[in-house]
């Protein structure tokens, strides 16, 4: 299994508060991704990173920001959480070779009340 951890695994927060989710990898992969999974929507890309300090938006990036100051860490921040951001968040990594397959972390369940 790829070495990917996410923290926290579960979080409950109130509307309007900032929240930061962390993804940590031990594979030294160049590419890192944040997805959200919601019923009826599958996996949707929020932001991704193609190197340290190099990031770009995905299809559902509004309300989210990311940072990558080290190869191994990719942070997702909800500046002011809303109830629509209640979801399960997955981090993924890829070496960018082969079939471009990505390996996923265990997920963070976030509830915004």
């Amino acid at each position: 299994d790829a070495g990917i951890t996410q923290s926290p695994r579960h979080k409950v927060t109130e509307t309007g508060t900032p929240v930061t989710l962390r993804c940590h990898q031990t594979e030294n992969h160049r590419y890192m991704y944040w997805y959200r999974q919601d019923p009826g929507h599958g996996l949707r890309l929020i932001h991704y990173s193609y190197g340290v300090k190099d990031t770009d938006k995905g299809e559902v990036s509004d309300g989210y920001s990311v940072s990558r100051s080290k190869t191994e860490d990719f942070l997702l921040t909800l500046e002011s959480a809303t109830s629509s951001q209640t979801s399960v968040y997955f981090c993924a990594i890829s070496s960018g070779t082969g079939a471009y397959e990505q390996y996923f972390g265990p997920g963070t369940r976030l509830t915004v009340t």
Partner: protein, 111 residues
């Protein structure tokens, strides 16, 4: 517009029989096609992939077929086992090292 469609939200099969999961895509420029499996409360797990220059790839009980003229991808699981019960996502790679996922199909294999 959905670039990747999994039109069956769920599928139920008997243990030992074949499971066929389907996926349609819109863009003929996709170069790789992938299948993932997801159990509840876990992250998706990469299963198998196929290049656009091939029409079949096999790995044990799992075979992926690609029909480029129909823009159709399928995953065959033979024989199906109860442990195969999960949500299956198809995904495509187009550019920039990003994958686009379908909405998933819940497979239930009954003993």
């Amino acid at each position: 517009d959905q670039q990747v469609k999994q039109n069956s939200p769920s599928l139920s099969v008997q243990e030992g029989r074949i499971s066929i999961l389907n996926c349609d895509y819109t863009n003929s420029m996709f170069d790789y096609f992938l299948w993932y499996k997801k159990y509840p409360a876990e992250g998706p797990t990469f299963l198998i992939s196929i290049s656009s220059i091939k029409d079949k790839n096999e790995d044990g009980r799992f075979t992926v077929f690609l029909n480029k003229s129909a823009k159709h991808l399928s995953l065959h699981i033979v024989p199906s086992q109860p442990g195969d019960s999960a949500v299956y996502f198809c995904a495509v790679h187009g550019s920039n090292y990003k994958l686009t996922f379908g909405k998933g199909t819940l497979l239930t294999v009954n003993p």
